[in-house]
Amino acid sequence: MAEKKATTKKAPSKKEDSKKVAPVKQETKKAAAPAAKPKAAPAEAAAVAPTTNAGDARVGVFICHCGTNIAGSMDIEAVQEASKKVPHVAYVDNYKYMCSMPGQTVISKAVKDHKLTAVVVAACTPRLHEPTFRTATKDAGLNPFRFEMANIRDQNSWVHMHDREGSTDKAIDAIKIAVAKAALLQDLHPKSVPVEPTAMVVGAGVAGMQAALDLAAAGIKTYLIESDMSIGGRMSQLDKTFPTLDCSQCILTPKMVDVGRAENIELMTWSEVHEVEGYIGNFDVTIRKKARGVMTPKEAEAKGIVGGGCNGCGDCENVCPVVKPNEFEIGMKPRKAIYINHPQVVPLIYTIDFNSCVKCGLCVTACGPEKRAIDLEMKDEFVKVKVGTAILATGYDIFPIEKKEEWGYKRFENVISSLEFERLICASGPTGGHLVRPSDGETPKRVAFVLCAGSRDNTGTGKPYCSRFCCMYSLKHAHQIIEKIPGCIPYLFYMDIRSFGKMYEEFYYRIQDEGAKFIRGRVANIIEDPKTKNLHVMTDDTLLDRPIDMEVDMVVLAAAIQPKEDTNRTRKLFGVSCSMDGWLLEAHPKLNPCGTTTAGVFLAGVCQGPKDIPDTVASAEGAASAASIPIHMGAVELEPYFAMCIEDKCAGCGMCVNLCPYSALSLVEKNGRTVMQVTEAKCKGCGTCGGFCPGGAIWMNHFATPQIVAQIDAFLLGGEQ
C-alpha cells in the first residue's frame, strides 16, 4: 500500500511539502478507494517519505443542523455559500440530521455523483459521530480515513449560542480548516491484531468477583487480582444490605466460594499489578505476589511437600505471640501477626504480617512437619501473564472523617464511623453484634446519625459529590437499632434523603413508621460532655426554624467515600484517566460507562464513582460483557494512526526511542545504516516522537506535518494554500 502511495521522487523540502507539491497521479483516489484491502504495511515500506498532494482533490462538505442545536445559532445558508468558495470544495450540502440514515445517504450519493475524494462533515464531535461518518464514507466507496470532521456544535453553536454572526464566521473557519486537511488525507488501513483469549480483573470485591464470574462463565480464562489476603471487599464487612435486609455475608459467601471454585478463574490474593505493557488484545501484566509467608497446598506441592500447605486450621494463630489491631474490624478487635480476616475467608489461607512478625518460629513448629506451610523467609514474587482485556474494580475507602474537626471523630470516643457501626452491629463482629458505646461498653439509647458527613462539601476538606449510599445505609442502621435495642431512638440528621432506587422510598417510609426521627439540618458541630461522654449534636432544625441541641449517647458519621488509596498508581499502569475527584474516568458517562479511553480496559463498580451494591453488580456485569467482546471477536482493529520512519531522513540518533511513552520505537540496522523502527501495534499515535524528531524523519499517519500546516494556513490565510 505504502509503496503505491509513496511517490518515488525524493522527499520534498519542508516548504514544498506544506505548500504546493508536484502534480498527483490521478489513479491514487480511483485505485485506492475500492482497492482490495492490502496487508498492513511492513516497516520497510516506509523507507521513502509518503507525500500528500491536494492537487485535484475534490472535497464534499456536509453541514448538519442537528435540529436547532446548530441551525438555531448560526446562518446555515451563509456557511454553505462560504464553503462553496473554499479551495478544493467540489460539493456542499446541508441536512437536518446528518447522522440519520437519510443524512448518510446524502453523503454517499454525493460522493458517487460528484466523484469526491474526501468528505468533511460539519456537525458535532468526532467523539460522538466520527465512527458513523467514517462508515458512511466507506459505504460511499472511499477509504474511511478520507473523512474529516468540523466541530461546529460542541465547540461553536453551544458556546456562542447568542452570537449568530460570530458562530457563523467560526463555523466557516472550522470548515476551511477541515477542508484543508481533507484535501491532503490519505488512504489508511487499520491493523488487525489477534486478541489473547484471557482477561484480568483487578480487585476482588463484589464488582471484581461478579465480573470475573461472568467472564469465566463465558468461557474466558480470567486472572482475578486482589491486594488484600482474601476476597469479598467492602461488602464482606457489612452486616445487612438495604432495602431487603439480607445478611451481607450470606449473599456474598456463595459468590466468594464460586470464585474460589471456578475453573476459569485464577485467583491471586495478596497480589498487586506491578507493571503493564502492551495494548488491547495483548497486555503483558507483571503481578507482584506479596510474600504471605504461608504456602497454599498447591505451592507446597510444587515444592515437593506432598499433602502439605495451609489447610486453615489456625494452629499457627493460637501460638503467635504478637497482637495487633485487626484492620478488617477497623481496629476494634485484636489479631495476631499470622491471621485471616474473618472465619469465612476465601481463600482459607493464613497470611503473615511481616511488619509485625518477630520471626519467633512458634507458628512453624505449630504447623508441624506434615503441612510445613509456613516459610518465614518468603520473598515477593513476580509473575507475568498475558491478557486480552482488563477490568479495573479497585473500589473505595472511607474518607478520613476526622478531617472535619467539628464532628470530633477520633477526639470523642462515642463518635464512630458508619463502617465501625457495621462491624459493631454484625454478629461476627468484635462485640458479637451488640452495639455498645466505646467509652463504657453501655448500650446506647439515643443514637444520632450524621448524614452527608464529608459529602456534598465544597470547602476543599470534604468531597463535593454525593456518596450515594449513605442515606440508605443510615436508614438501615436506624432499623437495626430499633430492632435490636428496645426503646432506642435513632435520630437522622439529614439535608435530603436520597432514596432513589427500587424499593428505596418504600424503605424510607418503613423506617419512619418504625420510629426513626428525621431532623432536617446538617450537623454544625458536636460537643462532648467530658463527664458522661454523651454528645451534644448542634444543628438547625430547618423545618421548625429553630436551633437544636440534642444530647445523645452515640453519634454515627455517615462518612463520604473516596477512591481506594492505590487507585492512582493502578490507573496509571493501565493508562486510565481520572476525574477531578479521583474516580476513574469512563469513556462516556452515559453511553459508555464501563469503557475507558484506553482500548481493552474497562471499569466495574465504585472505582468509577459511588454506587450501591445493585448498581455495582450491574456495572460489573456490563464491564464483563464489554471485556468479553474483543476476546470473542478474536481480533481487534487498531486505529492506523501510528508513526512511520522516513528512513532517508532518519539519522539514527535514537532520541525518539527514549521519548516514546509506549516503548513502541527501536533502532535497527538496515542497509548498513541505523534507523528507527516503529512497532505499529504498540504505537498510540501520540505524536511525541514526530514533534520532537530534529530531522523531520517521522511521519505521523493522519496527523502528518503537511496536513497540520495546511490546516494552520487555512485558518491564517483564509483557505488559500
Binding site: 458541630n525 448542634m538 436551633p547
Partner: protein
C-alpha cells in the same frame, strides 16, 4: 373600644395573605449582595449548618439561614427591613463550617450596607460610628477599665488612639470620605429629634 385595643389590628395581620409573590423577588438584590459580599450567596442549599453554628440564634430570633434564603430568592424588602439583620455578632462560625464554602457573615454585612443606603440602621450602630469618630473606639475606655488595667500593671490607656490622639485626624478622614459621620448624625437627628 379601649378594651379591644390592638386586637383588630393583630387579627388583621394574622389573616393577611402571607404568600410571597414573584414581584417580591428582585434579582438585582441577589446580584448586589454577591457583588458587595464577594461570596457565592446564591449557592446556599439551606442545610442549616450556619444557624446551627450561630451563637446568636439560640438566644434571639436571628436566623442566618433565613437571610441566605432571602439572598437566593432576591427578597430584598423582607431582608433589609428585618431588624434581625443587626443581630449578627460577626463571629464567622457559620463561615468556618459552611459546606458550600459561602461566607454568610459577609452576606449579612452586604445586606447591612444595602439597608444603610435606605437609612435602615439601628441607632446604637450609628452611635458607635459617632463614638469612633470622637475617640477612635466603638467602646471607649472608661474609669472602671482604667482601674482594672492599672491593677494588671498596664498603662491606664491602651496603646491606641487613646494613647496617641494624634492619629485621630487620619481616622476621621477615612470616616468623612465615606460620609459616614454626616449620615449617622443626620439619621440620629431624624430619629431622636
Amino acid at each position: 373600644m379601649a378594651r379591644t385595643k390592638g386586637y383588630p389590628e393583630a387579627l388583621e395581620k394574622k389573616l393577611r395573605d402571607q404568600r410571597y409573590i414573584r414581584e417580591d423577588s428582585n434579582p438585582e438584590f441577589t446580584k448586589n449582595v454577591k457583588a458587595i459580599s464577594r461570596t457565592i450567596a446564591h449557592m446556599c442549599y439551606q442545610c442549616g449548618t450556619c444557624t446551627g453554628s450561630c451563637p446568636s440564634a439560640p438566644r434571639s430570633s436571628y436566623r442566618i439561614r433565613k437571610f441566605m434564603r432571602r439572598a437566593v430568592l432576591g427578597l430584598e424588602n423582607e431582608a433589609l427591613t428585618d431588624p434581625d439583620l443587626w443581630l449578627c455578632t460577626t463571629c464567622y462560625s457559620c463561615s468556618d463550617r459552611c459546606p458550600r464554602d459561602i461566607i454568610p457573615t459577609d452576606v449579612i454585612m452586604s445586606m447591612r450596607n444595602l439597608a444603610f443606603k435606605r437609612d435602615i440602621v439601628p441607632v446604637n450602630f450609628l452611635k458607635t460610628v459617632q463614638a469612633i469618630y470622637a475617640s477612635g473606639h466603638g467602646v471607649p475606655n472608661n474609669d472602671v477599665n482604667r482601674a482594672a488595667r492599672e491593677k494588671l500593671g498596664l498603662t491606664r490607656d491602651p496603646p491606641t488612639t487613646h494613647m496617641y490622639p494624634e492619629y485621630m485626624p487620619g481616622i476621621r478622614k477615612i470616616i468623612d470620605h465615606y460620609k459616614l459621620k454626616a449620615e449617622a448624625d443626620r439619621i440620629v437627628k431624624e430619629r431622636e429629634g
